[in-house]
C-alpha cells in the first residue's frame, strides 16, 4: 500500500535537545542540576551575561554533539566555530545567542522511521550546538500579562538543535520520528528525556506544497502531534475558504490546543550572525574515530541482530530495542539456557513492558553483571514520572524464575503476570512472592495436570490402552513422571491415569 498524502502535507522538525547529562553548562561551570532548585541559583557571571564575563567551551559537550551527529549518520565537519545570533529577548542575557551558523558540527544524515506505508528515511539537514536561553514565566497569558518573571538557571545549558528535512507527511510520521530520535538519544546516554524541557520542538508545516508556517513552543511529543493536527486543519480550512497561507511564525498554546500568530519584526536576515570573537575555532575531524568508538549498538542495528540471533517477530524486535535497558534486560533473560527466546520476547515485550509502562515508570537506574555486555543479569529500577517517590525494581533473574515456573507448570500464566505486578508494586523476589502469595500449584494439582496433558498429547497410546493393551499404560505413566520431573509417585500416577481414562 502506498501512502498518497492526500493533503500534500510536509512537515520538518527542529528539535532542541538539552544535554542535561553533562555536569556543567556549555560555556561555564554552573551545574546542570537545576530542575528542583530555587530560581536564579544556578547562574554565574558567564551565563547571566554579566559585563566582562567570557565563555569557555565545555569539551564534553562537543564530544556529545559529535556522538549525536554520528548516531544520526551525519558527516562531522572538519572545523567549526560558534557564531553570535543577535536579537533581543528578556530570556537572552547577552542580547545574542551563541550558536553555530555556516559550519554546524554535524551535516547531513538520516533517521529511519516506520512511515504511513512502511519504512521511510527522514533526512537530517544539520545538527548544531547552541546555548539555551533562560526561562520566562508570563504573569497571566503571553499577550495580557502583568509582567514576565525570568529564571536564568536554564541559561547556558547545552542544546543540540537537530533540523530535519520536510520529509514527514503526517502528524503520525512526525510523532514516529520524534520517538525514534528519542530512542537513539537515549541509547547515547547524553540526556535524560524525562526532565522538563529536555526535548523541545519547533515544526515547519505546509499543505498542498504551499508556503510553510513555523510553529514554536511545542514542549512534548503529544503536544507535537496535537499542534500539527491543528495547524494542518487550520491551513486546509484557510485554503478552503479562499484564504492564503503566508510565511509566519505561530505559537502553540498547549492549554487551548491551538496555534496563534506571533508577530515578530525580526526575520532571519536581521540576526547579524558573525563569529564569536571570544571563542576560538574547533578542529574536530581528527576526534571522530575516538568518539565513534564510544557509540553503542544503536536501535536499528540491535533490532537486526535480535532478528538474527533470537527467534522472534519483527514487532517484538522493534519493541524490545526501542529502549536500550529493556533490550539488555531481554537479552539477560533470553540467554538463560532454560528459556526459549521467543517465549522471553513475549514475556518481556508484551507483558513486562506493558506493566512497566502502565505504571508510568521511567528507568532511573540499572545494575548489571558483568559490567560489559553480554549481561548475565540486569536489574532495572524505575520511578513514576509524576510521583518519583513511587519506585519499582525487578531483575532478569526474577523473570527467568517466573517463566521457568510457568513452563514447568508450577504456576499458571496468570499467576506469572500477577507475580510481575506484585514485584513492581510491592517488591520482593519472584520466589518469595510465589510462596508468600501461595501461587504455587499444590503437588496433586501438578500431577493431575500432568495426567490430563499426557492423555491429551498421546492419543495413540490412550487408544491402545482402551483397546486393551495394558502395556500402553506403563508408557503413559512414564510420560507423567517425566512431566512432573519425578515429583509424582508412580502408583499415584497409575491410579489417576486409570481413573481418568475410565471416566
Amino acid at each position: 500500500m502506498v501512502y498518497e498524502n492526500p493533503d500534500g502535507v510536509r512537515i520538518g522538525l527542529e528539535v532542541h535537545v538539552q544535554l542535561n547529562k553533562l555536569n556543567t553548562k556549555l560555556f561555564c561551570g554552573c551545574s546542570t542540576d537545576y530542575h528542583d532548585s530555587e530560581p536564579n541559583t544556578h547562574v554565574c557571571p558567564v551565563c547571566l551575561g554579566l559585563p566582562g564575563a567570557l565563555p569557555v567551551i565545555n569539551e564534553k559537550a562537543v564530544e556529545y554533539a559529535m556522538k549525536i551527529g554520528l548516531a544520526l549518520g551525519c558527516d562531522i565537519v572538519e572545523q567549526t566555530q560558534f557564531h553570535r545570533k543577535n536579537y533581543y529577548y528578556p530570556d537572552l542575557p547577552k542580547g545574542f545567542q551563541t550558536t553555530q551558523y555556516d559550519f554546524p558540527i554535524a551535516g547531513e544524515g538520516k533517521v529511519v522511521i516506520e512511515g504511513e506505508d512502511g519504512e521511510r528515511d527522514i533526512g537530517i539537514t544539520r545538527a548544531h550546538m547552541e546555548e539555551d536561553p533562560g526561562r520566562l514565566q508570563h504573569m497571566g497569558s503571553i499577550d495580557k500579562s502583568k509582567g514576565t518573571l525570568i529564571n536564568y538557571n536554564r541559561s547556558g545549558m547545552t542544546l543540540i538543535e537537530i533540523v530535519s528535512e520536510p520529509d514527514m507527511r503526517s502528524p503520525k510520521e512526525a510523532r514516529r520520528y520524534l520517538d525514534k530520535l528519542r530512542s537513539i538519544l537515549d541509547y547515547l546516554d547524553v540526556f535524560n528525556g524525562d526532565l522538563e524541557g529536555a526535548m523541545r520542538v519547533d515544526a515547519n508545516v505546509s499543505v498542498f506544497m504551499g508556503e510553510r508556517v513555523e510553529v514554536k513552543n511545542i514542549s512534548s511529543f503529544k503536544g507535537a502531534e496535537r499542534a500539527l493536527l491543528y495547524e494542518i486543519m487550520r491551513q486546509k480550512n484557510q485554503i478552503r475558504r479562499g484564504g492564503e497561507i503566508t510565511l509566519e511564525t505561530r505559537h502553540f498554546d498547549e492549554a487551548r490546543g491551538v496555534t496563534l500568530s506571533m508577530r515578530t519584526k525580526e526575520t532571519e536576515n536581521d540576526y547579524r550572525y558573525f563569529p564569536e570573537p571570544d571563542l576560538m575555532p574547533m578542529r574536530v575531524a581528527d576526534r571522530v574515530p575516538a568518539v565513534a568508538a564510544t557509540l553503542p549498538e544503536l536501535p536499528d542495528a540491535k533490532r537486526n541482530r535480535f532478528l538474527e540471533e533470537y527467534d522472534m517477530t519483527d514487532m517484538h524486535a522493534k519493541a524490545l530495542t526501542s529502549d536500550q535497558d529493556i533490550a539488555d534486560f531481554y537479552e539477560a533473560v533470553a540467554q538463560n539456557e532454560n528459556i526459549d527466546s521467543k517465549d522471553a520476547a513475549v514475556w518481556v515485550a508484551d507483558i513486562f513492558k506493558g506493566e512497566w509502562n502502565y505504571r508510568d515508570l521511567a528507568i532511573h537506574g540499572r545494575t548489571n553483571d558483568p559490567v560489559t555486555p553480554p549481561y548475565s543479569w540486569v536489574k532495572l529500577s524505575g520511578a513514576n514520572r509524576k510521583d518519583p517517590t513511587i519506585t519499582s525494581s525487578i531483575g532478569s533473574d526474577d523473570l527467568i524464575y517466573i517463566i521457568g515456573s510457568v513452563n514447568n507448570g508450577e504456576i499458571s500464566d496468570n499467576s506469572g503476570i500477577e507475580v510481575i505486578r506484585i514485584i513492581l508494586d510491592e517488591g520482593g523476589s519472584a520466589n518469595e512472592v510465589i510462596d508468600a502469595k501461595g501461587l504455587r500449584k499444590v503437588e496433586d494439582d501438578i500431577v493431575a495436570t500432568a495426567v490430563s496433558e499426557t492423555i491429551a498429547e498421546n492419543e495413540a497410546a490412550v487408544q491402545d490402552y482402551l483397546g486393551g493393551a495394558e502395556k500402553s499404560l506403563n508408557f503413559l505413566v512414564g510420560q507423567v513422571m517425566k512431566k512432573t520431573k519425578g515429583r509424582a509417585d508412580a502408583r499415584q500416577a497409575r491410579e489417576l491415569l486409570v481413573a481418568a481414562l475410565k471416566s
Binding site: P45, L48, G49, L50, P51, G52, A53, L54, P55, V56, I57, R84, N86, Y88, P90, P93, K94, G95, F96, T148, I150, N269, D270, R272, F274, P277, D278, L279, M280
Partner: protein, 475 residues
Amino acid sequence: MTKWLSISDVKEIIAATSAEEVTASYLELIEKSSINGYTCTSDGALDTAKMVDKGEVAGPLAGVPIAIKDNISTKGLATTCSSKILEGYVPPYDAHVIERLKAAGAVIIGKTNMDEFAMGTSTESSCYGVTLNPWDHERVPGGSSGGSAAVVAAGESPISLGSDTGGSVRCPAAFCGVVGLKPTYGAVSRYGLISYANSLEQIGPMATCVEDIAAVMDVIGGYDARDSTSIDNKIDYQAALVDDVKGLKIGVPDEYFGEGVDSSTEKAVWDAIAKYEEMGASWGKVSMPNTKYALAAYYTIAMSEASSNLARFDGTRYGPRSEGENWHVMASRTRAENFGKEVQRRILLGTYALSAGYQDKYYLKALQVRTLVKQDFEKAFANFDVLMAPTMPLPAFKIGEKVEDPLSQYLTDVNTVPMNLAGVPCISVPCGSSDGLPVGLQIIGNHFDEATLIRAAYSFEKNTDHHKARPGEVA
C-alpha cells in the same frame, strides 16, 4: 610624602612608615584633586593596607596603590564604564587582573574615569565629565583611559591599569607624559574587562617608569583558563629590564609620519631615534602600505563587535530601567536614555555594518584589510626588532575641540589602531614635548616579544630624562 612615586619608592616609604599611611595619603591627595581622574575610591583600600601591615597579605606589590580603569570589574566596587547605563552596578566578581593584583598585595585604591565604554580619545564622553590633563587643565588627558593616565601623571597613584582597544592606553599615556603598555593580544586575560571590541583589546598598565610597567605585567600577565583567547606564553618582564640596545634594529615606518603629524612631535621622535643610534642601535625605513586603511578597518570592526557586546545593557538584569508598555519598548528607551551620544552612534553604525546586505561590504572587508595590515607587520618584523613612531600625531588637544565632529577625533587614532588589528605589543614612553605638552614615542614589537620592547624602552629611560618631566616642570 612626595608625589610621583615609583613602586620601589612606595615600598621604601611603607618600610619606613606603614602601608596604611601610604594609602591614606594617596586617598587624601585624591580627595583634594582637581582633575576629576577618579570615578570613585575604594572603601576597602585602607583595610587591605592594614592587612599588609599585619602581614596577612604579602606579595610583590604589597601595599602598593593601583588605580583601575572603570571598565575592569571589581567585586563590591562600582564598575560603570563611565556610563549612565551602568549606574549603580556593582559586580559580584573580580576581573582576572584584579584577582592577580589582590593576590600580589596591591591596594585597589579607586576606579578611574574614561570615555564611555572606552569609545573615545579624550575622556570627554564620560558621564562623570571630562578628566583634566594635569599638564594643562584646558586640555583633554587623551582616552579612553584618560583617568588612569592623568592620575599617574598627577601623582595620585603610582600605577594604574587601562585598556587599549585602538590606542586607549598609549594615547593618554602620550598626552599625560607617562609610560603605557598595550600587551600582545592574549598576553593578559580579558576576563572581567567589559568588552568594547573583544578581538582588539587588551588590559595594559600605566606608570611613571618602565620598571613599574614590567613589575605590574609580571603580576597581571600570563595564562587564564577563563579567557579562551588567553595564550600560555610565559614572559619574564622584569628580567627584560636591561640597559642595552646594541645591535637593536629599529624600523621606522614612513606611513606613521604622515601629513597630520605635528612638527615638534615629529622632531621629538626623530631625536629619540637618533638617541637610540647613539646608544648602539641601528635604524632603517620600512614601508607599511596598508596603514592608510587601518583606521577605517579598525572602526568598522570595533563598532561591529561593540554593537553586539553592548546588547546586554537592556535594563533587565542590571543598571537603570526606563518605563515602557512592554519589554522591547522598555529596552529601547533604557538604551536611548542612558547610553551617551557617541556610544549610540557606534552601536547604530556597528549594527548597520553587520546587517544583511552590508556585512560583506563593511565588516568582512574590514577583516580582510586587517589581514593585510597584519601582513605589513609580519614583513616589517622579518627585518627589524622593533618599530618606532609617534604615539599620537599631535599633543593633547583642547577640551571641546573635537566633540562635535566624531570623525576628526577618530582620525587622531591613526598611529595606534594598526597594532590592535595585528595584535602586536607596543609601548608609549615620554620622549620630549611640543608646546609644553608631552610627546610619546611609540615602540612596537613582534607578537609576545614584550621583552625586546621593555629592554628598548628601559634603555631609553636610563639614558634620557624625558620620563622625569612632571606637569608644571616640563623638561
